[in-house]
Amino acid sequence: MGNLRVFLKAARFTFRNRKRTIAFIALFTILSAYVIFFSNTFTEYYRTDLLRNKGIITNQIAYNTVDQTNDTVQEFIARANGYEQTESVIVHRYFDFGASIRIFELDEKNPWAFTLITPRSIATGRFVSGSGEALVLTGSTLNLESTLLGNATIDPSPGDKLTLQGNSSSVVVKIVGEITKDVYNDPENKAWIFVDSASFDAMLVALQPTTYIYEITVLAKGNLLLSEEPYNNKRFLVEQLKNDYFDLGLSPSFLTVPNGIEQNIDTRIEERNSDLLNFSFGILAGILLSLLYGILLSRFRKTEIAVLKTVGYDSWNIRLSLLAEILSISFVGYLIGVFAIQSYLVYQAASLISSILSFDVILLSFSIVVLFDLPSVLISSYSLVKVRPLDVLRDTG
């Protein structure tokens, strides 16, 4: 109770010391922003490079009515999933509806694992996040003449409902966002519609396409940042998956060039190393700043601590009051840092979901910033706990 009060009061009183507070909050803000930025880069790096570095993407055609290939493809997926070197297998399907529309399935749980579009490709609105939702390309027109709906041509935009009419039933989806046009260069100039998995399944039933395509992404296990393991796993998996295709009587059709792996590795490792170097620099700066803060704080608060000791504060009361000051300064700095980076991302990406800092990033960077407090807490409590009131207060008058 007493200690808690000492802590809370100290945290509150900290902010009364304007100059000191503002100066150190500013420093902690800069530092936090740096750490958040890099944490975010790493997570983003991890995501965008997942496909490039850990992914093996293949595609296979399946028949909607004759389920022979479908079964074989399912068997292939099961095998891919079974390897120790596999982290996960992500599947996207698509089919053509009429002559001018192509419908893609989006795995809303793994939106980044799609070669064509990612949440970054959103121009307006947002990414698919639930069932019954769809994305279209900016400025695309849906020419429905070849479908049973008739000769209508519509210009869809977010908020519109889209009804796709089959022989006996129809599927309704809501358009939630538009994809920038520069993501694709489709020679057939089809209108693309991206829908969630549930809607896609419903469409397979309602619209009865004769064939559809599986796009199967196999991700290799291993941390891209810390080891070469994913590259080795990927090499291994490429061979295995080729064999599996032959074995199952399918012809292997890889979308990424497996032979390009070797050349890829070196550049990736170089990039990774330079990122790590920058990050380490940030950590070092953080530790130095924290030490500086601890040393300055020991001076600033010396007299005050001597007074507190005279009135009966013990070592723990003093440690807690130092901890409170340091934590609150760095926490406020951190919050401003998050806000700054967040605004920067929103400004830069001009889209919603893709630019919000993820929970992982927040957690990672916050832990780092809290770790930064350690040197200042240690150094200031070390030098202030041993202060003898007499040494400070003697003849101060």
């Binding site: 009364r16 007074v307 000791k309 005279t310 009966g312 101060t396």
Partner: protein, 224 residues
Amino acid sequence: MVEPLIEAKNITKIYKRGSETVYALRNVNLQVMPNELVMIMGPFGSGKSTMLHLLGGLDTPTEGEIVFQGEDITKWDEKRTTEYRRLHVGYIFQSWELINNLTAIENIEVPLYPTKLPTDEIRARAMRLLRQVDLYERERHFPTQLSGGEQQRVGIARALITEPNLLLADEPTGNLDSETGDIIMRMLKKLTRGGTGTVVATHDESLRRYADRVVRFLDGEIIV
């Protein structure tokens, strides 16, 4: 017979400055009775402050013992001394030593923050004391917004909030004009009651009229 509140027996305090030894106190005996205001008077460097520090558990003597409630406080460890300071001693400084980013009322409350007392009880006590030192309605002022005399009154209230048995004041009027000094001394005199004993160290002869008893120091020894 009334027991003394605190008793210093045969105290010697030696400071070493290089090869030189300074006798800050030499075989000093001092008793403080409850409800008594003892004034230690003497010229600069005569050992007055040293005596207060020893009584307040801020320093230990080279020789001798200090008996408080039947125990020799000089034998205590850091933990018990800290507790002694918190529970039994109120210290008033010559230059007040208020904490600048705390308001008057918060400065008074500070010693009680680490205790188990509920926060509103602490506030109530501090308000009562603020009224006693005639600073009512100055509670939200920061030290820099108060005059020297007012700051010293806050200092007194802070020393009193733990309801100490022993009030120690080192030159409490040293930084004040004589008129304000009188107000402070009258206040200390009035507060020395209910079992509290007060020791004031000063070299200002004009203050002796407030003392119940005067002890004169010269070069670390009692001369009267």
